[in-house]
Amino acid sequence: MSEERADGHDASTEIPEIPTPASSIEEAPSPNEWKDEDICLTVSDLCLHYGDNEALTDISMRVVRRRVTALIGPSGCGKSTLLRCFNRMNDLIDDVRITGEIELNGMEIHSTSVDIAQLRRRVGMVFQRPNPFPKSIYENVAYGLRLQGGLPKSEIDDRVEWALKNAALWGEVSDRLNESALDMSGGQQQRLVIARAIAVQPDVLLLDEPASALDPISTLKIEELIHQLKQDYTILIVTHNMQQAARVSDYTGFLYLGKLVEYDTTNIIFTNPSEKRTEDYITGRYG
């Protein structure tokens, strides 16, 4: 009854139009067609507790290489927490307990032999709000490279330029590399942060609501960038914006109350979800 009323009264709850993923030339294969060598990340039985609260319950999923995988779900469903598991950012929080496994290219990332700094170099991350360092544009991009140590100046110069070009920022900043990154607009800062992340050439790029603090035009630029970047990187994106998930991703996982409710190609999730809860969420009945 109430659902019908909501349906009838509010235009925004209509099922959104599904845009055709413009950049993917070939249609994303459905999960049962995945080959083992296409898999970049494998999550098995992942549980995460904050103290006594269970934030993630028995998550199992696989992430395909050089595709964009979106994680959607209402606030507090654990999608950011899941994303932060992939580069072990949750380790920074006290009282976190993780069970289960995450394999990156066949390597268990929680193993004691893993160097967290190395892991984070291979799994880059971009946060919700742009967080440039209070340094010059150049130094921001070079930061990760300098951490590796021993790179000659010319190599760093080249990689900074390459990263800025790949982040579609070079044209705007090439003549002011030594100015403070804090003087850039929010959208530019977010692309700078993406450039900073790809400068170290990671395998995986984690994007945690990368456009939520940006205006529509900057958002569009970020989305175009994601399209380009997926040719080289495996991208996981958390987003609140379902149109965005539909526009940029090949696969979509829907999380609800710490569980992975449904995970399939974006096409299926948005047109023909098998779970009632997924359908309710993407049609805007809650969340």
Partner: protein, 563 residues
Amino acid sequence: MATSDAVSQDLSLQRQSLAAWWRSGDPWIWLTSAAVAASVAAVLGLIGLLAVNGLAHFWPSEVRAIEYERFGTKTKIFGEVSERESISRRQFMEANPSFDKRVPATVERWLIKTGNRQANPPDFRWLFEHDVITSSVPADVVVIERTEWGDAFGLLVGIKHEGESIEAEDLWGEFQVRIDRTATIRNEIHELQEGSINGINYELESIRLEKRRRQLDDNHEFSDLEAEEEALRADYAVIENQVFELTRQLERDSASFSLADGRINDIPISAIIQAWMPNGMSVWQKLGLYFKNLWNFLSDDPREANTEGGIYPALFGTVLMVLLMSALVTPFGVVAALYLREYAKQGPFVQLIRIAVNNLAGVPSIVYGVFGLGFFVYAIGGSIDDLFFPEAKPAPTFGTPGLIWASLTLALLTVPVVIVSTEEGLTRIPRAVREGSLALGATKAETIFKVVLPMASPSILTGMILAVARAAGEVAPLMLVGVVKLAPTLPIDGNFPYLHLERKFMHLGFHIYDVGFQSPNVDAARPLVFATALLLVLIIIVLNLTAITLRNRLEARFRVSIN
């Protein structure tokens, strides 16, 4: 009836408007602005008082010839009126019960600086205006600034060359030429003493210590040292002869001055620093002399138990001590704050430590002085002497109050301030920036050094500013751990290792106390107390402004993103 109604209505209206005025917050604005105005007035008043009293001292004021009569005796003097005040009849009568004339309601009295401390003491005296018979401003009275015995006043009547009076057309010009000559010779002697003789003494002392060191090692082979010592002593004898010769030349001339009462006073020109005739000088000449005097005050060594001359060693000591203190306290405080905020697990124990650190800032400074003397000077300094300077014993090297211990004691006194403000800076750095660095593969240490510390640097400097402000004004603990009334040498000189951390030093704060309250000649010292106090305040202001400018620059550079 109607009238009373109107009145009561009016009253109620008034009461309402008063309440409304109160509620509007206007009184609050007035109260707060009045508090600010009062603070500003207090600070400006303080600096103004110090400036007026201290800076006037260097102005070449006019010298009067005064004849006065006291108890039937007539006296003639030259003197500067350094103070005028009115006292009540009652106060006057209590001081002069035998005074037999009619006394007006208030009596004017003057404090006259008469100089000539040796020839015509005392050099400051109070005169009652009604005692004065004549008072004039003779154009040719000379003020003579001397190396000893304070200023002298008189009329130049002759110059003696090796005891023989000489004839000169331009007596004043000749006098100035001879003063310049002695100044040149005095400089030469000073350079020989400060340069060569000090250097040779220093090397002789090193040889003596080396000998002692070898004795302690049961090595009695001294021939190389003795040869060296021989050479040094020969050098010393040569220089000593030069000094003797120069000193003899210095004593060649003297000048004769006639005092106000006609007596003649001979002053050796070697004892004269400068002389001027204030009554004949134009304002510009006086201004020139004023700034010269001011400069001498800043750049000269003190004379006459600190009541004359300059304060350069105290100025030098104060600035050096504060700089050393900052260099010691900043790294220490920052490292402690880093541990408390970044590494330690936040809990009741860390909170307890934090409270303890904050309370350390409230411990009276003299307690730190006692601690510094007991721990730094005797325990640490004594151990250093035992380990590294056994040859100098029983004379202590580091086991005695000195510059390094004073700096350390003040660093300990101010470290809580640096810890607290650094911690505040660390907490203000957004988590997102730290995570951004960690997500790029930086370790925690790399994140701290490359991102966190630069961003916290304005707060660190704020802590340093507060530390400097507190340390530069401390006197009490310094008296126990290194400051002396008169230090023979500066802590920095040309002898290796150039910076002598173990030396005692002079300090403006202690200098104020010493000149003002330990000096034998209060009237002569008083203006210097004000001038020194003004200088101390100015130094603290300059040190703070430097640090504040630096902080503002860093703040502009590391401001946190507001997007």
